[in-house]
């Protein structure tokens, strides 16, 4: 049995590795970025302000994360006490315990959320106390629904006698299916108004992507994103990125970047990476749940929530690395489509001033928090493209 299990594990690991390698492949050349000095790129005042802002914001994240782990640690130990507040049967009780866990985390993290808003406003950035409190409260309600659906799926599967502790095998595909469905449906729910700019059709032609490009308002920060699968594919630009100090050339670069995501099927790849991580994650959770009688028992839920959050943190560096890789490919795609590295460089320099993002954060920030290449790396990429394009031209 041990040999058979080991063989299965090796086969699974090999399959996982091959799938990861296939997903990692990209159109990026084998590049080595030339290191630039940030002091030469940014005015000293802008750089100091961004670094100061980011260093404190990082501390808030660290505080909130440690608080979350501490609260969930205590909850994993004592959370079963709240079982007496339920008359909902095992699955319903599991849902209640899950919601209580998240509610406690929300309450414990609230001071950090409020402090973060104060810090943003103190530094001239957009931030709303109402959003950080009441808005997050409503968001918590949405999280509860998602949590209850997830627990209903896994607990009901675990309670099927012939599935039992193997619930993770059917549960992982179910979650992949739900994620795919959400990725497909979400773009239609976002609204926005069409962007009417002369460069839209030109870029769509170059990138071979013909999708609606929409502008959504109500945000205080410059940003953009691509989303959707198949017919629901869309690019959304947040209104501030179309306003001063950003220029039309820089907006064109942003749009090219987002179209690059769609051109290289990054949404599909994200779903595939999710699927790749869902199986080991669900398996590990099933192992943890066994310590409390299995996932079908509500007593397991507080411990499983703690394990889930810890595993998410463990997987975070890998997920960020994958995300950074895709973002780099989208940047490269934008450079190839626009042939305008100056616009890209100016855009990334502006981001430092407008969003106070540290262009060169410390390593642990890079590993745990950065899902895009650093702004310094992105500027270095534009310089690299200049040399690359010059070498490629006859």
């Amino acid at each position: 049995v041990s040999f058979r299990r080991s063989a299965l594990l090796v086969a699974f690991a090999a399959g996982w590795g091959v799938a990861a390698w296939l997903l990692w492949r990209s159109s990026l050349p084998a590049y080595r970025l030339q290191h630039l000095s940030e002091t030469a790129l940014f005015p000293a005042r802008v750089l100091a302000s961004a670094q100061h802002y980011s260093s404190v914001a990082r501390l808030f994240w660290l505080g909130a994360t440690l608080t979350q782990l501490a609260v969930l640690g205590v909850y994993a130990r004592y959370g079963v006490r709240w079982m007496r507040e339920s008359a909902a049967g095992p699955v319903g009780t599991g849902m209640l315990l899950g919601m209580i866990g998240f509610a406690l985390v929300w309450a414990a993290q609230l001071p950090f959320a409020v402090l973060a808003v104060w810090w943003r406003r103190h530094n001239g950035l957009d931030g709303s106390y109402v959003q950080a409190t009441v808005g997050d409260w409503l968001l918590l309600g949405a999280q509860f629904v998602a949590l209850c659906i997830a627990l209903a799926v896994v607990m009901n599967l675990a309670r099927v006698r012939w599935i039992g502790d193997r619930w993770w095998l059917p549960a992982a595909p179910v979650f992949v299916g739900i994620t795919t469905l959400l990725a497909f449906v979400a773009p239609w729910l976002l609204g926005g108004s069409p962007l009417r700019a002369p460069y839209v059709s030109q870029l769509e032609r170059i990138e071979h992507v013909h999708v609606p490009v929409r502008v959504i308002s109500g945000f205080g920060e410059p940003n953009a994103f691509a989303t959707g699968l198949g017919p629901s594919r869309r690019v959304f630009l947040w209104q501030p990125i179309l306003e001063r100090p950003f220029t039309a050339r820089e907006d064109r670069f942003v749009l090219a970047h987002e179209l690059g995501h769609l051109a290289h099927d990054h949404i599909w790849k994200s779903v595939a990476w999710y699927a790749l991580l869902a199986f080991p994650l669900a398996y590990l959770l099933a192992r943890v749940a066994r310590r409390r009688g299995g996932m079908g028992m509500p007593e397991a839920v507080p411990l499983v929530i703690l394990a889930y959050v810890v595993l998410q943190l463990v997987f975070l560096p890998l997920r960020n690395a994958v995300s950074r890789h895709m973002e780099a490919e989208a940047d490269w795609s934008a450079l190839r489509a626009t042939h305008d590295p100056a616009a890209g460089g100016a855009l990334f320099r502006l981001f430092v001033a407008e969003t106070k993002d540290d262009p060169s954060p410390p390593w642990w920030d890079y590993v745990f928090l950065e899902n895009h290449p650093t702004l310094l790396q992105r500027i270095e990429m534009t310089r690299y493209w200049e040399d690359y394009a010059a070498a490629q031209s006859p």
Binding site: A87, M99, A103, F144
Partner: protein, 434 residues
């Protein structure tokens, strides 16, 4: 399980009901016009009462109890307001006297005969402490009598009609107002006030009397919204096939789940919403089937029963009438505050079934009043439960009444029973025949 709400403790302000439900059609038809002299007199009296109440407040702060002459004057004022509210809201038939004399009207109120010693702190804070009671009194009705408080509560809000309206003014209250309007039609046709409407209206009047007595320092016992206590002199109605079972004394509430109660209920709301779509289809089919066969198909009856019971559980959880998180199936016997429904489909009149939606309209109107009361009570209970870790007895029983009525309306609409919802706040009592 204890199925009956029993009176918890006697309140010094006690409603005495000797009404026989008979109404003179002529005086009912002209009731508003006939009440005009009383309303004018009441308005003048209440201006004077407000001045006296302020003097009483200062005097009680100094002396520790109200002066005897002021106590007697304000008792007469409160009693008169009860008589007038009862007449105005059709809870009683005879034309009331103008002096608020004791023992002369079918809906009367016993008040403390002598001024009672009162805590000075409670007296000082009385204008603030009374706000929740005024809020609830404004919803339940029978609030004629505290015009100044009404103006404070709604900041002198003037409605489109130009009248001042609000909890303690002449607005009367949502539930009592609806009962009065429906009772007006019923009394004109039958010459009698339906018991359910009369009891609901009387309940509002009784609670209003307690609020006024508390506001005017006639007692320092806080108003108690428990229907059983207020209507202890009223005969309970006959048992209804749709009724509430559960431990009425289960008042413990978990502060954590109270704080997040609305959010915890969101998955239930989503489920209720989705289930509701299927319910509509089943209910339409059930209606056709019952009109044709004279009885609901068994599977329809069971499906709809589950839905009605599940909705009851969810509302009980959300409103804090019960503590634990409910299940998602509406199974009987799974929740501490449960709903008893007819186990099997009953034979029903085809004509009544055919017109069921129209017949249910008065019940919908009362449901609206009951829902407002439920919402208000739940809102207030949230604060109390957070502070004390338990729900107030009176509020809990008011909410149980509201939930019961809403469930009876649903059961009637969806053909689980052809017994009309009973608006009486009192639980039905099984007769020997039943």
């Amino acid at each position: 399980m204890n199925t009956r709400m029993t009176a918890h403790s006697a309140h010094p302000v006690r409603l005495v009901v000797e009404d026989d439900y008979r109404r003179s059609r002529v005086t009912v038809f002209f009731r508003l016009l006939l009440a005009i002299p009383h309303l004018i007199w009441f308005f003048l009296w209440s201006i004077f009462a407000v001045i006296v109440a302020i003097i009483n407040w200062v005097a009680t702060l100094i002396l520790g109890r109200p002066p005897a002459w002021i106590h007697r004057f304000l008792c007469a004022f409160v009693r008169y307001s009860v008589h007038l509210s009862a007449y105005f809201g059709l809870a009683a038939n005879p034309y009331p006297g103008f002096l608020g004399e004791a023992g002369e009207y079918p809906i009367d109120v016993d008040l403390p005969e002598e001024p009672q010693a009162q805590s000075r702190w409670k007296t000082l804070l009385r204008p603030l402490l009374v706000i929740p009671a005024l809020l609830l009194g404004g919803v339940l009705g029978g609030s004629i009598g505290v015009p100044a408080a009404g103006l404070i509560m709604n900041r002198g809000h003037r409605s489109r009609s130009g009248r001042f309206e609000g909890g303690g003014g002449l607005g009367g209250g949502v539930l009592a107002g609806i009962c009065a309007i429906l009772g007006w039609f019923a009394a004109l046709v039958t010459g009698r006030m339906p018991k359910g409407l009369r009891d609901a209206s009387t309940y509002g009047i009784g609670y209003g009397a307690q609020v006024r007595a508390y506001t005017l320092l006639l007692t320092d016992v806080y108003p108690n919204s428990d229907p059983t206590t207020i209507l202890e002199t009223v005969e309970p109605p006959a048992a209804h096939p749709v009724h509430v079972v559960g431990d009425a004394h289960d008042l413990r509430r978990s502060r954590l789940t109270v704080f997040f109660r609305l959010l915890f209920a969101i998955p239930h709301f989503v489920w209720l919403y989705l289930w509701g779509y299927v319910l509509v289809l089943v209910a339409i089919f059930n209606w056709f089937a019952t009109v044709i066969m004279g009885r609901s198909p068994r599977w329809c009856h069971r499906f709809i029963s589950r839905y009605v019971r599940y909705q009851f559980h969810v509302y009980a959880f959300v409103s804090l009438a019960a503590n634990p998180f409910p299940g998602f199936t509406g199974a009987p016997g799974t929740y501490p505050l449960d709903l008893e429904l007819p186990a099997d489909p009953q034979r029903q009149s085809r004509v009544k079934t055919f017109f069921r939606v129209f017949l249910a309209v008065p019940a919908f109107l009362v449901s609206f009043g009951v829902e407002v009361a439920l919402f208000t009570a739940a809102f207030l209970t949230w604060f109390v439960s957070l502070m004390r870790g338990s729900a107030p007895w009176g509020m809990r029983n008011l909410m149980a009444y509201a939930l019961r009525y809403l469930a009876q309306t649903n059961a009637y609409l969806f053909l689980l029973t052809d017994r009309y919802p009973n608006a009486s706040p009192l639980e039905g009592e099984a007769t020997p025949a039943e």
